[in-house]
Point group: C2
Chain length 429, copies 2
C-alpha cells in the first residue's frame, strides 16, 4: 500500500459502509460491554456512512489480524478501538499491520515525546512504553490529547475502491475527543458531501404495535425518510433520518414527516427532539413558572431522582419525601393514621392525600403521590404485586389512576415513575 | 452434513471456543445494543467454554451468511441470536442454511402448532408466519415457551472437529429461558466434564491501580485461578475463576485465593460473592436489627432509590427526605435557617444536622445527611461543583466527610451515594 497516492475525490456508486472492531479480552467476559460503537455509529451516520458490521475480539494477534483482514476486505471505513497501550497485551498495531502486509516503524519524534511526558512527571519510562511509538508504514499519527496512546490513520485501496482505516484508543473519553476533534473532519473531507437531517419523536402511554399500526400508513409514504421504531423503558421512540442534496432539503423532509406523525399521535407525543420525559416536564414547569414536589412510597426515591437528574431542576423541584413506613407517611405528608388503617397504605385515598397534603406542606404548584407494591414480596390476593396508585394534584384538582404493572421490582418502579411523569406533563399542557 | 452420525464423545486438545452472532439492523443503530451475549458468555464460561469472537450484523442474507461461514470455520460452538421471526427481515434460518450448504424444509407439525396458536386467540394466521416452521435439514427444533419463534440446534463437523450450532430468538426473556431450560444441558452433554468455580470480591474506597499493586503479588502465585480486575462505577471488582477435575477442588482453589485477597485488602472488601454495596448494607442492617433514614440534597433521591431497590428493604429503610430547597431542609429535617445562613446549605454543619435531626425525627438507628453541588451550574470559587459533605449518625456519634468529586452531574451524584453507603457499612461492621 506504500506509494499509493492519497485519494482526494471518490465517486461512490452505493452507500459508504463502515465496520467497527472493538478489541480487548475484557469485552469477551460477562462483565464488560463495548459502548464506544454507539457513539461512533451516530457520528458516522451524520456523514452518511452506514455501519454494517461490528466485531468484538480479544487481545490475540492472530485472531485480530484475521478479523482485520475480513473487515478491510468488505468495508470502506474500518475503525479499530483499543489495544494501543504499552503492555504486551496491546496488539492492535501489530495485527493491523499483519492484515495489511505492512511493517511497523518506531517514530523517533514520538519516542522523544514519550520520554518528555514521563520526565515531566519525574518518572523513569518503562521500556514497554516505546511500543506506543510504533507506527504502521504510511500511517498518519493522530495525537491523543487525553492519554499516552496516539491513534493512527491509514488510507488504502481494495479492488479499486478506497479504504479509510482508523486505529483509536479504547477509553471512551480519549476516543470521543479524538474522533470529534480530528477524525470526523478528516473523514468528511474524503467523502462525497452528504447532508443528513434527523429527528426523534418520543411517545408515552401507547404500545409499540399500536404506534406502528397508526403511523405505518404515514411513514411508508415518505420513502425519502428512513423511519425506525423502538420501544424502550416505557416509551416508544420514532427515529427519522433523511439524506438529501442540501441540508435544508433534508431538514424539510424530516420535519414534514414529524409534523404528520404528531398530528396522528396527538398529545401521546411528549418529545419532538429526543428529550426525555423528565426534561420535558422540567421545560413545562419552568415555562409555567411552576414548582413540583413528590411524596412517594414504592418508587423509593426514583421519582425524585429522575426529576433531579435534569441539570437546573433546582429551579422547579422543591423536594421529596420517601415515605416507606406508615409512620413517615403521617409524619412527613400528614396522612391520617385512621385513613391508612381503613383503606390500607396502598390505596387510592392514600395516594391522593400524599399528593394533596405534601403539596400544601411544600407550598408547591404541583404535588405527586405514589403508593404501591413493587414486590417481589408484600402482595396479597386483594392487593397484588404491581398494584400502584398515582395521584397528581394542583389547585384545579387531583388526578388519580390505579394500575397493575407486570414484571419485576425494577420494572414496576420504573413504569410507575414513567406514568407519574406523564400525568404531570398532561396536567401542564 | 446430513447423515453425519451424532457426536456423543469428543476429546478436545484445547479449550472449546464459542462465537456469538447477534442479528438485527437495529443493533447497528446508535440506539440499541446487544446485551444477550453477556448472559450467554456467563453460562458458556460455566461449561468451560470461552467466547473468542462476537459479531453484530444486520438483516441482510448475504452479509449474515458470510459471517456465519466464518464463525463456523473457526469456532466449535456458534450461537446465532435474532432474526427468527415471521417477517421478511427475519433471515437467520436462510442465511445459516446457506452457510452450511443445507436446505430449509417446512415442518408440518410446527405449521399445525402455529395454526393452533393463532386459532386459540381467534386470529387468522398471516401466511408469513409459516416461515417460522422452516427448519434446516438435520436440525433439532428447540421449543420456545415464551414466543412463537422456535430455536434450532445443528451438530456438524469441520476439519475433524465438532461443531454445535444454535439458532435462538432475540428477545432476552425468550432466549434466556430457552438456553436455561434446554440448551445448557444439551451442550453440557456434548462437552468433556468441566468443573468451574467462580468468586467475585468487590472493593470500595481504593482505586484500580492501588488494588492491582497490592493484590498482583498474591494472585500471580495462584496460577490455577484466572483473576480479572475491573473498575466499575466507584468500586473495583476482582473476578476469580478456576477450572479443575472436581467441583470441590475448583471451589477450594478460588476460596483460598479469595481468603488471601481479603486478608490483604481488609475492610476495603465489602462483598465476597458479588453483592452490591446496597445489598451488603441491607444485610448488616438486618443482622443488627437496625433501621436507616436519609436526608439528601444534591443526590436528589438517588441514595433512597439505591437503598430501596433491594427487595425486602422495607424491613430496615424507614424513609427519606429529598430536601432540595432550603425551606424543606428546615421543614422536613429541622435544619435551623440561621445555620444555613451562616455556613451555607452546602456545609459540614448542614450535613451533620440533616443526618442527626432526620434520624431523630424518623426514630431510626442510623441517619444519613448529604449536601453538595452536583453541577453543572451552582458552583463558586469557594464552593466548587463536585463539593459534597456526607454525614452518618448513630447513637455513638456522627462521622462526616468532605469530598470534591470530579466529573459530571451523574458521576458526582453516583459517587456521593457510593461513599455514603460505604460510610454506613463501616459504621455497621
Amino acid at each position: 500500500m506504500e506509494g499509493v497516492p492519497p485519494i482526494t475525490s471518490v465517486h461512490y456508486t452505493k452507500t459508504v459502509i463502515a465496520e467497527i472492531v472493538a478489541i480487548g479480552s475484557e469485552l469477551l467476559t460477562p462483565f464488560r460491554q463495548d459502548t464506544n460503537s454507539l457513539y461512533l455509529t451516530q457520528r458516522l451516520n451524520e456523514l452518511g456512512v452506514e455501519v454494517m458490521f461490528k466485531n468484538i475480539v480479544g487481545d490475540n494477534r492472530e485472531n485480530l489480524a484475521q478479523v482485520a483482514r475480513t473487515a478491510i476486505d468488505r468495508s470502506h471505513v474500518v475503525i479499530f478501538m483499543g489495544g494501543l497501550g504499552p503492555t504486551i497485551d496491546d496488539l492492535t498495531r501489530e495485527a493491523v499491520a499483519d492484515a495489511l502486509g505492512l511493517k511497523l516503524k518506531r517514530n523517533p519524534d514520538m519516542v522523544a515525546d514519550l520520554y518528555k511526558r514521563f520526565a515531566s512527571r519525574r518518572v523513569l519510562m518503562p521500556d514497554n512504553n516505546m511500543r506506543q511509538a510504533d507506527v504502521i508504514t504510511g500511517a498518519e499519527v493522530i495525537p491523543n490529547a487525553n492519554g499516552s496512546a496516539p491513534g493512527q490513520y491509514i488510507e488504502g485501496e481494495q479492488d479499486g475502491s478506497p479504504r479509510y482505516i482508523f486505529l483509536l484508543p479504547g477509553p471512551p473519553h480519549e476516543l470521543k475527543a479524538m474522533w470529534n476533534d480530528q477524525c470526523q473532519q478528516l473523514l468528511r473531507d474524503k467523502l462525497p458531501r452528504a447532508f443528513i437531517a434527523t429527528r426523534e419523536l418520543r411517545v408515552s402511554s401507547l404500545g409499540e404495535s399500536t404506534v406502528d399500526a397508526r403511523v405505518a400508513p404515514i411513514y411508508t409514504k415518505h420513502t425519502n425518510v428512513q423511519t425506525t421504531i423502538l420501544a424502550k423503558a416505557g416509551e416508544v421512540q420514532l427515529h427519522l433520518k433523511c439524506r438529501a442534496k442540501s441540508l435544508p432539503e433534508a431538514q424539510a423532509a424530516v420535519d414534514r414527516l414529524a409534523g404528520e406523525l404528531e398530528d396522528e399521535l396527538d398529545d401521546a407525543v411528549f418529545s419532538t427532539n429526543g428529550e426525555s420525559l423528565e426534561q420535558i416536564v422540567g421545560y413545562y414547569l419552568q415555562m409555567r413558572n411552576s414548582t413540583i414536589c413528590v411524596a412517594e412510597s414504592c418508587t423509593g426515591g426514583l421519582m425524585a431522582e429522575r426529576l433531579t437528574n435534569v441539570s437546573g431542576s433546582s429551579r422547579y423541584f422543591v423536594g421529596g419525601a420517601v415515605v416507606y413506613s406508615n409512620h413517615l407517611k403521617t409524619l412527613l405528608a400528614d396522612v391520617p393514621p385512621m385513613m391508612i388503617e381503613e383503606y390500607g397504605a396502598v390505596s387510592r385515598q392514600v395516594a391522593v392525600t400524599l399528593a394533596e397534603n405534601f403539596r400544601e406542606i411544600c407550598n408547591s404548584t404541583i404535588g405527586v403521590g405514589i403508593t404501591g407494591i413493587a414486590g417481589p414480596s408484600g402482595g396479597s390476593e386483594d392487593k397484588p404485586v404491581g398494584l400502584v396508585y398515582i395521584a397528581v394534584a394542583d389547585d384545579r384538582g387531583t388526578d388519580v389512576v390505579e394500575r397493575r404493572f407486570p414484571g419485576d421490582r425494577e420494572r414496576i418502579r420504573w413504569w410507575s415513575t414513567q406514568l407519574a411523569l406523564d400525568m404531570v406533563r398532561k396536567k401542564l399542557i
